[in-house]
Structure formats: structure tokens, C-alpha cells
């Protein structure tokens, strides 16, 4: 049990490439932190730095109270689950799990107890323990990889995209199991993924990384409800948030979306932005089909996707044919080419500065 503290962590490769530009976070004891971002954003590098597989160029990395910048991976009291599982192919499942324990110098009885215990938690049978990894299915190998992490009873679990090699159904199942396991063991965990659904469902908190910078750190709902930047707004949520170019009216009170369509923000709170261009974001699920009226967007439907529980309506509006996606619950009888009046409620509107791409509160 330990917290993990990253204080201005930076990583520069010998060739001069700066992979991590300074990350600050304190992962509390028992917390589940998910690092999420597109490929190449530095999330795996950051995790590998915590593991000790990459050196820390600058900053301080603490596990518990101890600074571990220059501590060997094996002395950091961590366990890691790799993307390709990294099981030792020439050893049985049992030997795979016992390998680290033998090196720790534990007795046979103790090793046996720990391995059997982990196996029962992960629902691996006695017979499977005697098999070689290649004789197991993908999901079972995944369990063995987790078992190898559990038996060590580490202070911190590190997961490097552990589910990306599994098929969709198994991925959902293992996701639930990882969540349950982490909650029952209460071990501090850092989890890397590029899948935003995994990130939203697993993490107590999420760190969104982009190009080696932290875009936002917060709970899944904070990220969903108050994305700090355009990047986070479009990365979190599926389908992605609609972004529309707008202009703030001179009165600082309403934004013009299209010809004859404007949205009153009320209160004149953005007077200093009067006349400026802004980016307006609204999630597909927050757009509603309303009655024909003065302040509705005329959406021309180009594609309808029936998902069963939901219907996704893709279309465009205005002279420059701005794309928009609407998500309606249930099935909708909408036809391609139809014109739909669309509105959004003010509570679910996000505004972003087009230059800095940062969120504007109003």
C-alpha cells in the first residue's frame, strides 16, 4: 500500500526528443489512475518511468515516502502487467507465477499458498496451472499475467494496455474483472490505455495526455462535463463532441451559430469576448429534435445509424455544411435528406477559445 507522487517528471531521450514535458500528480493510496491519450502521447513512457524501465530525466518520483528515481525496478515494490502479457513461454503457468517469489527467497509452502490463492481469485484451475502459456486462450493468459502481479503483493500495480490484445467481448469482461479485483485488493494502480471507454469505466481519476503534456486530470465525470480543452472534449465521449465555429455577438450575450440562429447565454457574462470568434461544443446526446421554430438549426440528414438503444443521426447545416451528429434514445424513423429542427439546452454547451483551445467558463 502506497501512494505514487510524480513531481515535475520529465523525459528527454538521448536524441533530444522530449517525450514528457513535466507531469505532476499524486496517486493516492488505493486509487485507480488511468493514463489515457492517443498513441505517441507519452502515456506508456510515463508508466515505464514509474516501473523503472525508463530513466527519469528530471523531476522527482516517489512511491510512498521514498524517492525511487534511481531505484532498480525490482526494488520499487511494484508489479506490471504487459500488453503482450510477457509470460515466460518455457515455464508452466505455476512456474510463471512462482518465478518472482523464488527470487524473493520465499519458502516452498509460502510460494505454493500464494500461487494457489491467486489462482483461485482469478479462477484458474489446478490443471491450467500445469500448462504452458501457449496452451491457454488469450483471456486465460491475461489472467496469468495478472496472477503473476498479484502474488508479489506489491504496493503498486502498473498496467500497460493489458486488454488491447483481446477481442471485444472478452475485453469488456476482463475490464469488469480488473475493476473488481482492484477494488477488493485496494492496491494503488496506474493503468495505461488509448481506449476512452476503458478509461472512463476503470479509473477513479483520469489523466489525459497529449504530446507529452497533461491536458486534464480529473474524475471521469469531470472530464465529461467540464472538458478543459478542445482535445479532451473530443477525446472523451463517443461519438465525439460536435464542434461548431461561432461568433460572440457584440452585446456579449449571445453567440451566432448560423444565419438567423443564435443562442442566448444570459447575463452578459462574456462581455470581454464581444465580437470574437469562439468554438462551441455540444455532445451528440445533448442535442434534441424540437418543433420547427425560430431558434432551431435546420439539420439536413445524411446518414442514420440504428444502434438499437440509440439512433445516431449524422447531418449538416448552414451554407458551409457544418457536420453535426445527434444521438437520440430509442429508434427514430428519420430518413436521409429530411430536414430536422435541432436545439440544445444551455446547460450542455461548452465554449472554447479557438487560439488556446482552452475552455471558457461562462
Amino acid at each position: 500500500m502506497a501512494s505514487v507522487t510524480l513531481d515535475n517528471i520529465q523525459k528527454t531521450y538521448p536524441n533530444g526528443f522530449k517525450a514528457i514535458h513535466g507531469v505532476d500528480v499524486e496517486v493516492k493510496d488505493g486509487e485507480f489512475l488511468v493514463l489515457v491519450g492517443p498513441s505517441g502521447c507519452g502515456k506508456s513512457t510515463l508508466l515505464r518511468m514509474v516501473a523503472g524501465l525508463e530513466t527519469v530525466t528530471d523531476g522527482s518520483l516517489k512511491i510512498g515516502e521514498r524517492e525511487v528515481n534511481n531505484v532498480e525496478p525490482s526494488k520499487r515494490d511494484i508489479a506490471m502487467v504487459f500488453q503482450n502479457y510477457a509470460l515466460y513461454p518455457h515455464m508452466s503457468v505455476y512456474a510463471n507465477m512462482a518465478y518472482g517469489l523464488k527470487i524473493m527467497g520465499l519458502g516452498k509452502a509460502e510460494i505454493d499458498e500464494r500461487v494457489k490463492n491467486a489462482a483461485s481469485i482469478l479462477e484458474l484451475t489446478e490443471e491450467q496451472l500445469e500448462r504452458k502459456p501457449r496452451e491457454l486462450s488469450g483471456g486465460q493468459r491475461q489472467r496469468v499475467a495478472m496472477g503473476r502481479a498479484i502474488v508479489r503483493k506489491p504496493s503498486v500495480f502498473l498496467f500497460d494496455e493489458p486488454l488491447s490484445n483481446l477481442d471485444a467481448k472478452l475485453r469488456v469482461q476482463m475490464r469488469v474483472e480488473i475493476k473488481r479485483l482492484q477494488e477488493s485488493l485496494g492496491i494503488t494502480s496506474i493503468y495505461v490505455t488509448h481506449d476512452q471507454v476503458e478509461a472512463m469505466t476503470l479509473g477513479h481519476r483520469l489523466m489525459v495526455l497529449n504530446g507529452g503534456n497533461v491536458e486534464q486530470l480529473g474524475t471521469p465525470l469531470e472530464l465529461y462535463e467540464k472538458p478543459a480543452s478542445l482535445f479532451v472534449a473530443q477525446f472523451i465521449g463517443s461519438p465525439a463532441m460536435n464542434i461548431v465555429d461561432t461568433k460572440m455577438h457584440e452585446n456579449g450575450n449571445e453567440v451566432t451559430i448560423a444565419q438567423n440562429v443564435s443562442l442566448a447565454l444570459g447575463g452578459g457574462r462574456l462581455k470581454d469576448r464581444a465580437g470574437q470568434a469562439l468554438k462551441l461544443g455540444v455532445r451528440p446526446e445533448h442535442l434534441v429534435i424540437s418543433e420547427e421554430g425560430a431558434n432551431t438549426l435546420p439539420l439536413i440528414v445524411t446518414l442514420v445509424e440504428h444502434l438499437g438503444a440509440d439512433t445516431l443521426i449524422h447531418g449538416h447545416f448552414g451554407d458551409d455544411k457544418t457536420d453535426l451528429t445527434v444521438r437520440c434514445s430509442g429508434t427514430q424513423s428519420v430518413k436521409v435528406g429530411e430536414k430536422l429542427p435541432i436545439t440544445a439546452s444551455l446547460d450542455h454547451i461548452h465554449l472554447f477559445d479557438p487560439a488556446t483551445e482552452k475552455r471558457i467558463e461562462f
Binding site: 516501473a51 523503472g52 524501465l53 532498480e72 525496478p73 525490482s74 511494484i78 508489479a79 506490471m80 504487459f82 500488453q83 503482450n84 510477457a86 515466460y88 513461454p89 518455457h90 518465478y99 518472482g100 527470487i103 524473493m104 501457449r134 503473476r148 508479489r152
Partner: protein
């Protein structure tokens, strides 16, 4: 299911493989059958009279203590050549695998000796170790050691073992390096997190994972030591002193072309042929269906 592709019967495929078949027949099948036939003959040294004697040549061979000595010597020689060259190659490959800067340079330099012809390699070592003009005996003299492989059989044996092993290191190095590089890096990292130091990682993870390569190389090296070291031995010691470096393949040459006992020499090469066939079977049975990890 793959569909079987059918071609119209034509002469072309046969014409295309014809050159290879001709080469095989002229240079392999025909000489081998000649050796088989000759091994059943006794011929006088001038080739004037020939007599068919069935297996008499073989009986004589097996009764000859010199032949058994050569056999023993060959096994010792092959074992030491294989062990020495494979161990050095594995060590070098493990080190080259870890090197980051200039790895291309190291690899190229380590592969070079393989391009040296056996006779040239023999000549090289001949000059380095020559008791009167070589540099090594000169250096050894400073340490109070008198090197003369032209007199001492053990030194001659050591010399041919070293040079034969040196020649084969490059080949083994290539295969070991490829084997090491095919091991996923995450396995080594997982072992490091599990607390295994470099030595332990090598013996418990890396070495078992390159074992298919090791086994393959063992067979190749034994075959090499048995048959392809003729050039080196001929250039360095000519099988001497007092037959101390006369291994089976050299004895075939010596008895046949120097001693002109063609029947006995042919019988020896038939036995060697049997050994090659045996090793090839081992190779095919165990290496071809080698354990594939992952």
C-alpha cells in the same frame, strides 16, 4: 481451404530443375556410389589389379587400433571445437545484443571471419604460431613457455581446435544474435521487475529461449568439425605430429591419396557418410519440429 492450383502438364518445370539434378548426380550421387563400390575392392598401389573382397576393408578397419584412435580424437576435437566456438559466440552475441552505440560496427566485424577460406585461415594461424617465426611463441617465451606444436601433439591439437573454433564463431554468432533478438524485450523487463539480475535473467529466461538455436548449432558445428576442418588441419599440421591431429576426414585423405590404400580409404568415407546421414536425421527429427514458443 486453399484451392489446389492445377497446371497443364509441361516439360518446363523439369527443365528448370534439371541443372540442379545434374549437379547433384555428378558431384554427389556418382562419387558417393563410387566410394561405396570402391570400399568393397582391394587395389594395388599402382592401380594395376583390383579384387572384389566384400567387407574385408571394413573388417580390417575395425581391427585397426589406429582407426579407433582417430575416432576418439575426432570426437574430442569436435566436442571441443563445438563447445568453444558456441560458448564464445553466445557470449559475444549476448554482449552485442546489449550494445546500443556502434552495434552495426561490432556485428560486421564479428561476422567477417566467416568469409575467410579454411586454407587461408590455416595459413594465418600457421604464421602466428609458427615456432620459429610466429609472434605467439615469441610472446609465450616471455612467460617462460616454450611453444612448439611441431613437436608436442597436445599443442598441435590445441592449435587446430582454436583455429577451427575461431573460424566458426562468426557463423554461430549470427544465429545466436538472431535468436537473442527474437526474444520479446518485455520478457526481459518482466524478469527484471520480478527481481532477476542480469545473470539470472540470462540462465533462466534467455538461455532456455535460445535453446532451439543452440541445438541446431550443435549439430551444424559437429558436422563442421567432422568434415570441414580438413583445410585448416592440412594447412596447419598435416595431421601431425605423429598423427596427433589426424581426425577421421584427414585420415581418409591420408590413407587414400598419400598411402594409396584406396579401398580402405573408401571404406572410411562410407562410415563418415553414415555419420552424416545419422546427424542429418537427428537434425530433421528434433530441429525441424522444434518447440515453437508463443
Amino acid at each position: 481451404m486453399l484451392k489446389r492450383v492445377h497446371f497443364e502438364p509441361s516439360l518446363l518445370p523439369y527443365l528448370l530443375v534439371l541443372p540442379q539434378i545434374v549437379i547433384t548426380i555428378v558431384f554427389f550421387v556418382w562419387p558417393a556410389s563410387q566410394a561405396l563400390y570402391q570400399s568393397l575392392l582391394v587395389e594395388d598401389a599402382f592401380g594395376l589389379s583390383t579384387q572384389f573382397v566384400w567387407f574385408e576393408n571394413f573388417e580390417e578397419l575395425f581391427a585397426d587400433p589406429h582407426y579407433w584412435d582417430a575416432f576418439q580424437r575426432t570426437f574430442l576435437f569436435s566436442f571441443l571445437v563445438a563447445a568453444l566456438s558456441m560458448a564464445s559466440a553466445l557470449l559475444l552475441a549476448a554482449m552485442a545484443d546489449r550494445v546500443i552505440k556502434g552495434s552495426g560496427f561490432y556485428r560486421t566485424m564479428l561476422i567477417w571471419p566467416y568469409a575467410v577460406a579454411p586454407a587461408a585461415a590455416g595459413a594465418l594461424w600457421f604464421f602466428i604460431f609458427d615456432p620459429t617465426l610466429g609472434v605467439m611463441p615469441y610472446i609465450l617465451q616471455f612467460f617462460g613457455y616454450e611453444w612448439n606444436h611441431k613437436i608436442y601433439g597436445n599443442e598441435a591439437m590445441a592449435l587446430v581446435i582454436f583455429s577451427a573454433a575461431w573460424k566458426q564463431i562468426a557463423y554461430n554468432f549470427l544465429f545466436f544474435l538472431a535468436g537473442l533478438q527474437s526474444i520479446p524485450k518485455s520478457l526481459i523487463e518482466a524478469a527484471a521487475i520480478d527481481g532477476a539480475g542480469p545473470g539470472r535473467r540470462f540462465w533462466t529466461i534467455i538461455f532456455p529461449l535460445v535453446s532451439p538455436t543452440t541445438f541446431f548449432l550443435l549439430v551444424v558445428n559437429v558436422v563442421y568439425a567432422f568434415f570441414e576442418t580438413f583445410g585448416i588441419i592440412d594447412a596447419l599440421t598435416s595431421g601431425g605430429p605423429a598423427n596427433a591431429t589426424q581426425i577421421l576426414v584427414y585420415k581418409v585423405y591420408n590413407d587414400g591419396f598419400v598411402g594409396l590404400d584406396l579401398g580402405g580409404s573408401a571404406a572410411q568415407s562410407v562410415i563418415l557418410m553414415g555419420i552424416v546421414i545419422g546427424l542429418t536425421v537427428v537434425q530433421f527429427r528434433f530441429v525441424e519440429k522444434k518447440v515453437s514458443y508463443q
